[in-house]
Every structure is written in structure tokens, then in C-alpha cells.
Symmetry: C2
Subunit: 94 residues, 2 copies
Amino acid sequence: MIELVGYTAAVCTSLSFLPQALKVLKTKDTQSLSLVMYSVFTFGVMMWLSYGILLNDLPMILANVLTFILAFFILLMKIKNNKKDKLADQAGHQ
Amino acid sequence: MIELVGYTAAVCTSLSFLPQALKVLKTKDTQSLSLVMYSVFTFGVMMWLSYGILLNDLPMILANVLTFILAFFILLMKIKNNKKDKLADQAGHQ
């Protein structure tokens, strides 16, 4: 029962990045996404993945490989748009 | 040493939502944020928090209380702007 709560948590927080990645893919819009968030988050997921490898924990490894792919894709799209996004932020663009 | 990797991971993935929350607070812009992502993610963090409470794991509880506050704030701002954001998405707004 307790493990079910943990698995539900892992599936939700990992899979949640799928609709965000699809939205970015579809709209090419990353303006309100934070570059610092996705940099720190992607690094954090790499650390979770390393932790899973060190502990030999397969569910942790699989969940974090998936999250890493999604977060890294969003990060790359944000980096690509960053100059344009910054200018738009400064112009108070909504 | 292995625990240090885990703690670094937890701090990074929790704290990463702070710059995103600050960006939303400053710009009021949530257009490129995915409503589905923040709904599923916030629910997932609530599950991680429940898991931490069930396991009596204080670091897990503290990290997820912080992440929950940040993610829930971003979710509320997204819900508030959702109608406007959808119209702008349909108009191919960048």
C-alpha cells in the first residue's frame, strides 16, 4: 500500500513533463518557461539517475531516464529561444 | 557519498521551481506553461509528501512541502490565465 503511493508519485512527477514537452514541440513557445528552472532541474534529474544507478534501483533509473529526456528537450528548446524570449520579457510581452 | 548524491538531487529538483515561480510572479506570463503538466506534477508532489509522511522521512517531507508550495502557486496562476493563454495559443501567439 505504502509502495503504491510511492509509485503513483514517481509516475506522476515523471510523466507530467510529457504534456509540457508536447506543448513546446507544438507551439515552439518557451517564453514563460524559466531557463534557470530547467537548467537546475535537468541537472537534478541527472543526480537522481546517478543515485538510482548507485543504488541499483531499476524503477528509479527508468523514471529518471524518461524525465531526463523530456526535461533536456525542453531545456534545449528554451536555450534556442532564450535571446528572443528575454527581449520579449523586457518588452512586457504577454 | 551515495547519500550526498541523493541530497544534491533532492535540493536541485525541489529548488528549481523557485526561479519558475519568481518568473511567473514577476511577468504574470504563464502562456507557454502546460496546465496538464502542473496539474499532474502538483498531484504527484502531494503523493511524494504522503509517501514521506507514511515513511516518517523528514527530508522527504520538507523537500516536498517546499516543492508543493511552489508548484501549487504556479498552477493557480496558470488556472487564472488559462482562458487567455488558450486563445493566444490558438492565434499562434509567440
